[in-house]
């Protein structure tokens, strides 16, 4: 956990608020483009936001939050009730969407999905690598950072206003793509699906805001063995591994509780996990908030 203070709140568009969070003590932990933090909202909720500021600025993090009319209370609280001067705790940055080395990049942003791509675009420009950004939204006035991007990157940024121009033709774009281009896409589910259909999987890196709709077999009961404490925890069907561990006295940090943030990461020593998360746990790890077991028993490094 790192403590920050809300320095500025800037309304970028009618429903996007940018937060500048300044370190209260030492420098903040370093991060690379694509990283996100868990923000502890004062109403006890935890929400994930991509860092969209300058990684070289070790004194402040910048995030941008879109107001969700179906908010459970995270974006609503930040938009309506947060004031400068308030102390906010944030996690260490994590990166499930790192920028891999490539000779050229294509960035595809849909709406607030621009946030992780903003520092990527800057990093590519700084490294003098050819990079273009296709930024899609209903109209320019609803799209945060549109003006700033145009000023900094000129015609390497293409703004598509779907209200006037309709959706961009990603297949046509894919057809003209240099084969060594890496494509990074962050946006709503429809855009990710279109990108997945248009670009080869090995060239495409995608980040989603919400869990993908997928179906799994029915939950089955299994056992989790906590190797370090030599205790066995029964995980009934209908109870998450995370909850079962926590009730048995092995609390783990929990952020999203839906397999998109990675804060409950635990190492698996034996057994086969059934991964149900959206971010892809590293080899030998799992996210117990959603993932379960294919084997009757899992041995965890706890």
């Amino acid at each position: 956990m790192q403590q920050t203070i809300v320095e500025h709140l800037d309304r970028l568009t009618e429903d996007v608020l940018a937060l500048t969070l300044r370190a209260t003590g030492e420098e903040l932990a370093p991060w690379e483009p694509g990283a996100h933090i868990d923000l502890s909202v004062p109403n006890w909720l935890t929400r994930q936001y991509s860092l969209c500021g300058d990684p070289a600025d070790r004194d402040a993090y910048r995030i941008a939050v879109r107001y969700d009319p179906l908010s459970r209370g995270g974006s609503e609280y930040l938009h309506r009730f947060l004031r400068p001067g308030r102390t906010l705790n944030v996690s260490l940055p994590r990166n499930h969407f790192p920028l891999a080395p490539a000779p050229r990049y294509l960035f595809l942003a849909g709406g607030i999905g621009i946030t992780p791509l903003l520092p990527m675009m800057r990093a590519a420009a700084t490294a003098a690598l050819p990079a273009t950004l296709l930024y899609v939204g209903p109209s320019a006035d609803t799209m945060p950072f549109a003006g700033e991007l145009r000023r900094s990157h000129g015609d390497r940024v293409r703004i598509v206003e779907t209200g006037r121009q309709g959706r961009p033709d990603l297949d046509a774009l894919a057809a003209t793509l240099e084969p060594d281009t890496l494509v990074y896409c962050c946006g709503p589910a429809g855009m990710l699906a279109a990108a997945e259909a248009a670009f080869p999987a090995e060239r495409l890196h995608a980040e989603r805001f919400q869990p993908a709709a997928r179906t799994f077999g029915p939950d089955t009961a299994f056992e989790a063995v906590c190797a370090r404490s030599a205790s066995t925890v029964a995980v009934p069907a209908g109870v998450s591994l995370l909850d079962a561990l926590s009730h048995a006295g092995h609390p783990l940090p929990a952020g999203c509780r839906e397999g998109v943030c990675g804060s409950c990461d635990v190492a698996v020593l034996d057994g086969s996990p059934e991964h149900r998360d959206d971010i892809g746990a590293p080899q030998g790890h799992m996210y117990p908030c959603v993932s379960r077991a294919l084997s009757p028993r899992l041995v965890l490094d706890l």
Binding site: W44, G73, Y77, R80, S240, E258
Partner: protein
């Protein structure tokens, strides 16, 4: 011990009003017919509301509703919604609302002495756009109670000041209480070790959603 009358005498409301004297003019000005920005902020910070409902005959009950701050959603300045989290399934409030739509709510914010009171009329909904805003730990409630707001006001802090409700030292009062296992063993008349009952009840508390 001196025995006093078990049934205290009843006095009329006119007698009460005469003795109280006229209300402070400020009080009536406090009543609003909608959720203003201050009431909205209060609800967004409140993890606990007490909800009173009554049946057709006016028999009333009051039950606590609690979750993370802001668990009660303000849909617009005249409408709020409370999630129905798993409880004892007795459904008293649902039955009452079916017969009599009157609802009275008191919202509390830890550390704040004033209480927000909201009165109105309620009904039960399963509207997906409302329920989705109440999703917790990947589960959403089956129902929500919608309250159409008739009046809201901030109740002065004297009751909470006198009760020392938010004073951490007040928590010592819990030491004087029998455990819920002891209470359950006595009330249900079961011949069961209170410690086991306690364990059973505690395990039930783990399923919060």
């Amino acid at each position: 011990m001196t025995h006093v009358s078990t049934r205290p005498r009843r006095i009329s409301v006119s007698e009460v009003l005469t003795r109280l004297g006229p209300p402070e003019p400020m009080i009536e000005a406090k009543v609003r017919d909608r959720i203003d920005e201050y009431a909205r902020c209060f609800i967004a910070h409140s993890p606990l509301a007490m909800m009173a409902t009554a049946d057709a005959a006016g028999r009333t009950d009051c039950s606590p509703r609690g979750d993370y701050p802001g668990f009660v959603k303000v849909l617009d300045e005249r409408t709020i919604a409370l999630p129905d989290r798993p409880g004892n399934k007795i459904a008293d409030s649902f039955r009452n609302l079916d017969e009599n739509d009157g609802v009275g709510l008191c919202f509390l914010v830890p550390g704040v002495r004033e209480v927000l009171r909201v009165n109105g009329s309620g009904y039960v909904t399963d509207e997906p756009d409302v329920l989705v805003r109440m999703r917790t730990e990947a589960k959403q409630p089956q129902f929500a109670i919608v309250v159409e707001v008739a009046e809201t006001y901030f109740h002065c802090g004297r009751a909470l000041i006198r009760s020392r409700l938010w004073d951490p030292a007040s928590q010592a009062l819990a030491e004087g209480m029998p455990s819920i296992g002891e209470v359950a063993a006595a009330q249900f008349g079961v011949d069961q070790d209170p410690a086991l009952l306690e364990q059973f009840l505690e395990s039930g508390y783990r399923e919060l959603y």
